[in-house]
Structures are given as C-alpha cells and as structure tokens.
Symmetry: C2
Subunit: 331 residues, 2 copies
C-alpha cells in the first residue's frame, strides 16, 4: 500500500506558482528561475513535506540512476569487498545501488532478480559470482541494459567480465607450492564443472607439467568451495594419496582442510601445506593463518562501476584484475 504524498501541484498551489516552476526549482536547474520564487517553493516544500516520486521522474525522463547488483549467496566476505568497491564508486558517480540476492544455483531466483531489475530499467547490472543458465542469459541480453560479470570470467569473451585470470590463479598457486619443494600437490574442491574450476585446473596442470610432474587423476578432488568440501578433500587425501600439499579453491575450503588435518593429526604446514584461493579476512583469523592467492575483490567492484559508467555504444572489454601470493603460515 502506497500512501499518497504531496505532489508538485500541491506545493505549486501553496507557493502561488506553476507546477513547471516547482519542477525547475526542485530539480536544481540553475538560472531558470528567480531567487524569490525559489524561496517560495522551498518554503512550501518544507511546510508540506514533499517527497519526490521517482517512478514518475523515471517514467518521463526515460532514465535511471540506479545500478543493480545481483549477487549469489555470500559465504565469505569476498562479496562484501566487491560491494564496498561498488558502493563507493557509485556514490562518486551519483548512482544509487540496489542489491538483489539470486541464491545459489537457483534458476528461478535468478530469473526473478533479473526480471525485477530489468522491468525497472536500471542503468546497469553488475552480476557478482553469478552463474547464469541459458534461459536467463537470453533474458539478460534481451533487456538491452549494460551489464558486466564480476569475479567470474568467460572463455571466448562470451560475456564481458572483470575477474582474476583463473588460469593464472591455478598456475601461480601451484607454482608457489612447487617452489616450496613440493612435488605431490593436490587441488581440493576443484569445482571442475564450472568455467572457473576448469581454468584453475588447467593452470594447475600447466604448472605441474612445466616441472615434469605427472599428476595422478585423484589429486584433483572435486567440490564446490565449501567448508565441508575442504574437510572431505583432506580426508580423501589422507586415506588415498601421499600428497604433501594442496591448493584449496576457497578460503572456506582451506579452513575445512586445516580443521580436518588437525583432527587427523596432520601438522600444517610441516606435514601438509595449504594455499587457498581468495585471501579474505578468514585467512588472517585462522591459526595457522592461511597462505593465499589473494584477489582484489574491492577493485573489481570499483572497476565494474567505472566501466558501466563510461559505457559507450561499443561493447565492454573484459578485464583481468591482478592477483598476488600472500604468504602466511599454512605453507
């Protein structure tokens, strides 16, 4: 239920001017009205408690200042960092930000979120860690609203994105462990069905092969970034392999590995080294602190908004943000 408020007509009447004049004053069009009328209008506004009707404004102007962020369920604060970057940059550009949750692998929720923002004709859409199904891809494209994927990359530039180079992520993580003297290196919670997972695995294999290491098939343990997947991976490694180190596909997965290692009496990093992918605050509050391939999530958000704002008619160029190894205590 919407409560009808005072309109520019009401305040026009009270101020003794026309609605058009009120509109000019309120939308801050300098030099199109006299000081005197401006004051009259502002007094009337204060008295009646006017509030703008954005629906009407956007309907007539055919423009929106709203930037929509569609996000999948947050498990770590990676998304928090991205959102902080988005928010800050949006403010600089005079944009309002609305965030919609699309759940996790829930096509219906995704669709609902997409429809919501499309039907409101937002000025742009940022998709954070969203894995769209085909139908929703079509929906997104048909809307003709500028959009950009964040923290998720695509092959062959299927969609514009800003993310880490996940091949390099896998490669550098593995290279780091090799440099530490390891030769039997796993990849835990690899998520091999996703683009990201495949790219990281490819990087992992590349690094191994560069050092003439032949990975066994079960060195890559599948999973989905979760704490539980980390636990299971460590369990499996312990029972079935002689690995001495592993890359974990997320901070949370790494924590699962650490905890399970402790349960099994495996010392980290003496018996087993772990490097995680993400580098959120979780890495620093764990003991041992977790070495990570650190992604610059905040920067993804910043760059994402900037790209959308500078948007011309030509398509976006996708962009890789830098990664770095942050050495801590788990390796």
């Amino acid at each position: 239920m919407m409560i009808l408020g005072t309109t520019i007509k009401d305040i026009a009447k009270l101020a003794g001017v026309s609605p058009a004049t009120v509109s000019r004053v309120l939308s801050g069009q300098t030099d199109f009205y006299s000081e005197k009328t401006a004051k009259k209008v502002q007094q009337a506004v204060k008295k009646l408690g006017y509030r703008k009707n954005t629906n009407a404004v956007e309907l007539v102007t055919q423009k929106s200042h709203v930037l929509a962020v569609i996000i999948s369920t947050i498990q770590t604060n990676a998304a928090d960092q991205i959102i902080n970057g988005i928010q800050e940059t949006a403010i600089k550009n005079n944009l309002d930000v609305i965030i919609l949750y699309a759940g996790e692998k829930n096509a219906d929720l995704q669709k609902k979120a997409l429809k919501t923002v499309i039907e409101r004709s937002v000025m742009g859409i940022l998709l954070v860690a969203i894995d769209l199904n085909l139908q929703n891809e079509a929906l997104l494209k048909s809307a003709k609203i500028p959009f950009l994927f964040l923290s998720i990359g695509f092959l062959e530039n299927r969609f514009p994105f800003i993310s880490s180079d996940d091949f390099k992520v896998g490669q550098e993580a593995t290279q780091y462990l090799i440099n530490k003297g390891h030769t039997k290196i796993g990849f835990a919670a690899a998520n091999s069905e996703s683009n990201i997972g495949q790219l990281r695995l490819a990087g992992y294999w590349k690094a191994l092969s560069q050092h003439h290491i032949k990975p066994k098939l079960d060195w890559a343990y599948d999973g989905e970034y979760t704490y539980e997947d980390g636990i299971q991976a460590m369990n499996y490694y312990h029972q079935h392999t002689d690995l001495t180190a592993a890359v974990a596909s997320s901070d949370l997965a790494a924590i699962g590995m650490l905890n399970q290692a402790k349960s099994l009496g495996i010392r980290i990093p003496e018996d087993f080294a772990v490097i995680s992918i993400d580098g959120t605050f979780l890495c620093t509050i764990m003991r041992p602190q977790i070495t990570s391939v650190t992604q610059v999530f905040r920067e993804m958000g910043v760059k994402g908004v900037e790209t959308l704002v500078k948007q011309t008619s030509k398509p976006f160029k996708s962009l890789y943000t830098p990664i770095k190894i942050t050495e801590r205590e788990s390796s």
Copy 2:
C-alpha cells in the same frame, strides 16, 4: 540511459486489440478476456519482446511489491542469515526484495539509502542492524512507509523491532559461565555506548549480582564487535586482571580473544573460558569451536517480512526472538 522498449500500445496494434485488453491479459486478470484474444496478445508479446515498465505500473496503481532491506556492513555474517529468511518469506508473499547498504555509522550513506527507498515508495522497509541518527529517524518516520528494525531493540518501544532480548543475552551468557564455576568474568568489546551494549551489560551485572559477585569496573572492556577489539580485550585482561572467563560481544570479537590468548600462552578453555554472542558459522570453524549465545537470525528475517505483510493500520508490536546457549569447546 534507458532504452525504450515496446509498449502495450505496440503489442495492442499488432494483436489487433486495445491496450486495455493487453493490460488485462498481461497482468493475469483471469476471466476478463477470451482465450482467443489472450493468444493473440501472447504471440504479439513474443514477437516484439515486450517488457513491463514497473515505473508506469506503480505510478498508476499507487502500489509497490518491493520490500527494501537496509543493512549496515557490520555483522555481515549474521546479516546473511537474516537476508535468507527475508528472501524466502518475501517470495512466498510475492514480494521483490532490494537490499541497500548503509555503511557503518555513516549518516550520509544512511540518508541516501533511506531517500532512495522512500522516493520509490517501497511497500516496507526492514532495517537490519542499523543505528539511525536523529535526522534520519525523522526522515524515516515522515515517509509513512511501514518499517521495522531487525536485530536491534529499543527501549520504551521507541521503534518497532524484532530482535533478541539483549538483557537476557547478557544475563544468560554470564549465568552460563557462573554455572561453569567462574566468578571472575569479563565482558569484552561491550559497546557500552549503544542500546544493545547497555542492555547486555545490564544483564551481565544482573547475573553477577544475583550470585553476589561484585564486578570490578575494568571487567567490562569497551569496543565494537570487531576482531581487533577482541584482541585488545584479551590483552588487557591478561595484563590488568585475574579474570578466568569472559563474554564476547560477537563471534568475531571472540575469535580475536582466542587468537590473542594463544599468542599469550593462555589455554582455552583451561585457563580462560569464552562465550560469544551470535553463534554464526564462525563459531564452528574455529578451533576450539566457540560456545555461544545463539541468536535465530534467520527467524528474525522471516518474522520481519511476515509482520510487514500482515501490517494493518495499527502499529507493530515489537517481538523478541528466542536465544539459546550452544555449548562448544571454548568453555
């Protein structure tokens, strides 16, 4: 920039009917049109790729199906649970949810978020862990939009809210430690300037006094729910007190205490017991796992939406959600 799409007029023309009929078909008003016309309309829609203009709809109907959630960046672990509850319940009630970040103690950001949702005349506003300043309180009230605070309570029913009973939170946490045999009990990162902090402290003192324990002034160590505050509290306790246990005002603060204890060679729980307030997943991934006063954040979200939906003209009744002690390894 908004791209003009096809309107009901366009599809009306193609289908050979009037815009009103198109509107009826599209808004699913059953029994107000024939099968035949419905089909004609739907074909035209498919061909032209129509998408609804929600601004126009809301402008004319004076109604919105959008529920706005304003959220602060603090407590983001808990906020996830609240949002899940909100989202799920919103879907059941055919509501769209938009989330706005209001930063942390940032009056300008708060104001911006409030204005954004107010000027869009959302059907309701849920404020999650938001501490409004006076000016923004006035803004919120003046909007005449139903609202509700979540996870934050007020004295004297100044605003409607759904939260844990923070007096009880402080009292039961303390009582738990007393039951464990402790008599020298601190309260870390107490946040004594906030309503919540004061209520919890009051509960803490009550529990102590019920057992004839006279707390020293410096047993309550101030702070703001953060990891760093937890570290500092433990440091202080170690240097200046002979406490054997403490309540931590958040899971993150508790983690800070645990880590600092480890650095100082203090064993948890043998030398020092900790119970944290919140009970998010952080408690279970730490080693030792952290005993907590567990709040039902998800339920706050569910109840919040339900309350807003059932809203009549009379004011909300505020509501306490249950708490429980979840014993783990830190005590």
